[in-house]
């Protein structure tokens, strides 16, 4: 069997060199970044070779077998002789190895090569966009964002001079050490269901005690806050509730009283603190958040300010996400073009289109940032209800059990253990009160709904895992991994994708190794039938005809795969998802038949 492998190896190498020459002498290369030309050529040639690989291997196998069977000493005079059985073992191993190699090429090498070539082709345009964005941000003096873009551009083109210049400019104005030390955790505020109360499991009585202590210490703000906590935790009608109410009222009155200070600064600070706190209690989250942010920039070590700033930030993060959270360079480079629809319990459905997604490293996939999100809502009959568009959004994985009964019924998801995507649509600046980015709504003509009534988020009635899966689904199912394909096949129809097409792809992918097993064993049969005569040696001139043989087998294999696709569609119509086991059984029967065919060879 060594001959088989040697022939295959030599022939593969020759064909690869031929592919390389073919690619080199082809028409002009697309626009690429400098330094990528060689890699591009090599990879394109390798891709071409991978598509020819099955026919190359089959040719090599047949020729090797013809010469091997020429030289055997004992000839099988009867059918099913032991000689052929012995050879069958070796042939089976060769067939399995050949088939495995082709399957690995199809499942791993070809997708990797395709995506790498795709990246190289898109790199120049992306690089230009990164440089442009970096320069824009440099002019606006947003040095950290400019640096982000410059680093992304440098990843694409490491020897670029432009990125060096931009980075140097950034370093002049900005200490890069402090940038790299700021972890992204600070910027990404992960929404958790636990409320940000320091003593989480404390009872109403504990809060009341604490409030009384603070009241005696004349810390009116803290006393009021803890008495409010005690009030919300108290049983209605209990003594704790009444006490808490009284204490809260007293603290509030003390807050509003004039106070004597040692200097003007302290007085101003206290007034601003109190105003900010009052805004927080009154529910003006935006006002209180920005007020506390200003305060914390002025006096960063005041424990009150720190505590209430955190509480205000927590409340703020429930409704808005911050512009600086966005992984801008990641989003710029992402063009996934994700689209799907999901249905609510009452039959109305959302059609969702997202141009690109990106996530920040370290958050796992529980947070995704979306670029150019459009959602269209339709009634059960397919008539338009409302739509909106927002340039940036943040999708968070949110457990279904944290929603109230009505929402859960509306979503129609019965499984309480599931997490759903909660998409936040409104974005604010972290430090200064500039503007809040809100979605642009369009409503159906005869409705009286307005944009102001809409909440700043949307909950999609689907599993968050499905949301992530759909991000990896492509309209060309050949590009999906087998694993993703398995997961997706049963759910395809509910998200707007054709079940038939995906089952067919799954069938084709499973058929490939089985088909080539059959083909390689058949090539052994052919090799036996056409073995060289005892005294004939392989002539050099015959090598010229080998490419012709490869071309013929290439056409035959392509026709067989197309025919199998047609058969798959026919079977899927009758059997649905069960066509997969049916096809596997058919192929096993064919495999048994060709094995018997080989073993029954005789002189």
């Amino acid at each position: 069997m060594k001959r088989v492998f040697i022939f295959s190896l030599i022939y593969c190498l020759l064909v690869y060199i031929f592919c390389l020459c073919f690619v080199i002498f082809q028409e002009a290369l697309p626009n690429l970044l400098p330094g990528m030309f060689l890699a591009y050529r090599l990879q394109t040639a390798l891709l071409l070779f991978c598509s020819l690989l099955p026919s190359v291997l089959v040719t090599a196998y047949i020729i090797a077998y013809s010469t091997i069977f020429n030289k055997i000493e004992k000839k099988p005079l009867l059918r099913f002789s032991s000689i052929m059985m012995k050879y069958f073992k070796k042939i089976a191993i060769a067939a399995i190895l050949g088939s495995a190699f082709i399957t690995i090429t199809n499942e791993i090498f070809i997708p990797v090569l395709n995506s790498s070539i795709d990246k190289m082709e898109k790199a120049p345009a992306l690089y230009a966009e990164y440089i442009k964005a970096a320069n824009n941000n440099l002019n606006k003096k947003s040095y950290d964002i400019a640096l982000q873009y410059a680093e992304a551009a440098q990843k694409l083109y490491p020897k670029s001079e432009q990125t060096q210049i931009i980075k140097e400019n950034c370093e002049v104005f900005f200490d890069t050490k402090s940038v790299s030390n700021t972890s992204n955790d600070d910027k990404t505020f992960i929404y958790t269901e636990e409320s940000y109360i320091p003593e989480n499991n404390a009872t109403s009585f504990d809060f009341l005690q604490r409030a009384m202590v603070l009241f005696l210490q004349e810390e009116w703000i803290n006393a009021h806050y803890y008495s409010m906590l005690a009030l919300s935790a108290a049983e209605p009608g209990s003594a704790n509730e009444t006490d808490a109410k009284i204490l809260a009222a007293d603290s509030w009155n003390k807050l509003s009283e004039a106070k004597v200070y040692h200097n003007v600064e302290e007085e101003i600070l206290y007034k601003r603190k109190t105003d900010a706190y009052k805004m927080l209690i009154a529910g003006d989250i935006i006002g209180s958040y920005y007020a506390f942010t200003e305060l914390i920039n002025k006096s960063p070590s005041d424990p009150d300010i720190i505590r209430y700033h955190n509480i205000a930030a927590h409340e703020m993060a429930k409704q808005y996400f911050f512009f600086d959270e966005l992984p801008e360079s990641g989003l710029l480079g992402s063009n996934d073009n994700i689209c799907f629809y999901t249905t609510n319990a009452n039959g109305s459905f959302y059609v969702v289109y997202i141009k690109g997604t990106a996530s920040v490293q370290g958050t796992g996939k529980k947070i995704q940032y979306l670029k150019d999100l459009s959602v269209y809502k339709y009634t059960r009959n397919g008539t338009f209800e409302m739509s909106f568009y927002v340039p940036y959004a943040k999708a968070v994985s949110h457990s279904l059990s944290s929603f109230d009964e009505n929402t859960r019924n509306y979503l129609g998801l019965k499984d309480k253990d599931v997490s759903v995507p909660l998409i936040m649509l409104e974005a604010a600046d972290r430090n200064t009160k500039t503007y809040i980015n809100k979605p642009v709504y369009t409503f159906e003509k005869n409705t009286d709904k307005t944009a102001e009534q809409m909440p700043g988020f949307i909950v999609l009635p689907m599993d968050y895992e499905d949301f992530l899966l759909i991000s990896s689904v492509s309209f060309n199912p050949e590009n999906m991994t087998l694993f993703d394909l398995f997961k997706f096949v049963n759910k395809a129809q509910q998200y707007g994708y054709s079940k038939e097409v995906y089952i067919q792809t799954l069938c084709s992918r499973i058929e490939t190794p089985l088909l080539y097993l059959v083909v390689f064993i058949l090539s052994a049969v052919l090799g036996w039938n056409y073995r060289l005569m005892s005294k004939t040696r392989f002539r050099l001139s015959w090598f010229l005809y080998i490419p012709v043989i490869t071309a013929i087998f290439y056409c035959i294999l392509i026709s067989i795969t197309y025919l199998l696709k047609l058969i798959n569609f026919g079977l899927i119509e009758i059997l649905g998802i069960y066509s997969i086991p049916a096809i596997i059984v058919c192929f096993i029967l064919i495999l048994i038949y060709v094995s018997i065919l080989f073993v029954s060879r005789k002189v």
Partner: protein, 309 residues
């Protein structure tokens, strides 16, 4: 005698198998053209199965030559027996089988009603060349639909890239010959095959015209059968049987190719010059191959027989 019957058996076997495979393929293909995502398939129109069967039978009678020559390579016997059997089979194929099939296929074709393309189903994303269609509701009475169009190439200049469509007319023929774009995207023939389909169509049309033109035109056309028969002369070209089979296949494809080029009218190369009638061209080719065969038979022992020791 034995040779004659075994070759005849091969011919009949190839015709039937080929007809069966061809029938299944064309039936499945027709089925795929009617398939729409999410909906059960409507029945194939009357007369299609018979049409498919007859066309496949005629095609496999033509392609049987490859298998016949292959059989003579694997089981070489008396050369005269081979030649005699080939002549007999050619006569049967080209004077009886193929005219019968083509005539009746033509009659059946006129009975096949072109089914009206069905409207696509709603709630599926269908990628077209520049964007993706999604129909939320379809109104079959007015042939319109509501939904969205996702523009992937920026042609619509909308910021979000999504355009809402309301009561827009549905283009039923966008996926021709299929009914659904999604199926079409999966079943596009491979790049190698695509240019061949119109060429095969040309030969099919010419066959039909030749038959309808009476016996003389049909005899002239069936000179191609004579040319096919002559590939028997190539069976001794190499000392390796495998290459002999390959060269017989190449010879067959060459003759087919030359005839297609002749009927399709290649621009500027051969046919603008001297226009010889097709039967003369095929006779010349067959004489050429027969000559090779005769010379090889005289001057070289049959390399295919050495196996039988």
């Amino acid at each position: 005698m034995k040779t004659f019957f075994s070759l005849l058996g091969v011919f009949i076997g190839v015709c039937l198998c080929g007809a069966f495979i061809g029938f299944c393929t064309s039936y499945l293909y027709t089925h795929a053209t009617l398939l729409i995502a999410g909906q059960p398939v409507s029945a194939v129109s009357d007369g299609t199965p018979l049409f498919c069967f007859l066309v496949s039978l005629a095609a496999s009678a033509v392609f049987s030559y490859i298998f016949l020559v292959n059989y003579t390579i694997r089981y070489p016997k008396n050369i005269f027996a081979h030649v005699f059997s080939f002549i007999f089979i050619t006569l049967i194929a080209w004077l009886i089988v193929i005219p019968f099939c083509v005539k009746h296929a033509d009659k059946t074709a006129s009975r096949i009603i072109e089914k009206e393309t069905s409207i696509p189903s709603k709630k599926y994303f269908r990628p077209d060349t520049d964007g993706i269609f999604f129909y939320s509701a379809i109104y079959p009475e007015t042939n319109t639909a509501d939904g969205v169009y996702i523009d992937l190439n920026g042609f619509t200049n909308s910021k979000s890239g999504v355009l809402r469509i309301e009561q827009a007319p549905i283009n039923k023929n966008v996926a021709k010959p299929f009914s659904d774009l999604l199926i079409k995207n999966t079943l596009t023939p491979p790049a190698i095959v695509e240019p061949l389909i119109p060429l095969l169509q040309i030969i099919a049309n010419n066959t039909l015209t030749a038959i309808k033109g009476g016996w003389k035109s049909w005899l002239a056309f069936s000179s191609i059968g004579l040319a096919f028969m002559s590939i028997l002369g190539l069976r001794r070209l190499f000392r390796w049987r495998f290459l002999n089979s390959v060269v017989a296949l190449i010879g067959f494809l060459l003759i087919l190719g030359i005839n297609i080029v002749y009927f399709a009218g290649w621009d500027g190369l051969i046919t603008t010059g001297v226009l010889i009638p097709s039967w003369l061209m095929n006779c010349i080719i067959s004489c050429f191959f027969f000559l090779i065969g005769i010379l090889l038979a005289i001057f070289r022992p049959d390399p295919n027989t050495e196996n039988n020791e």
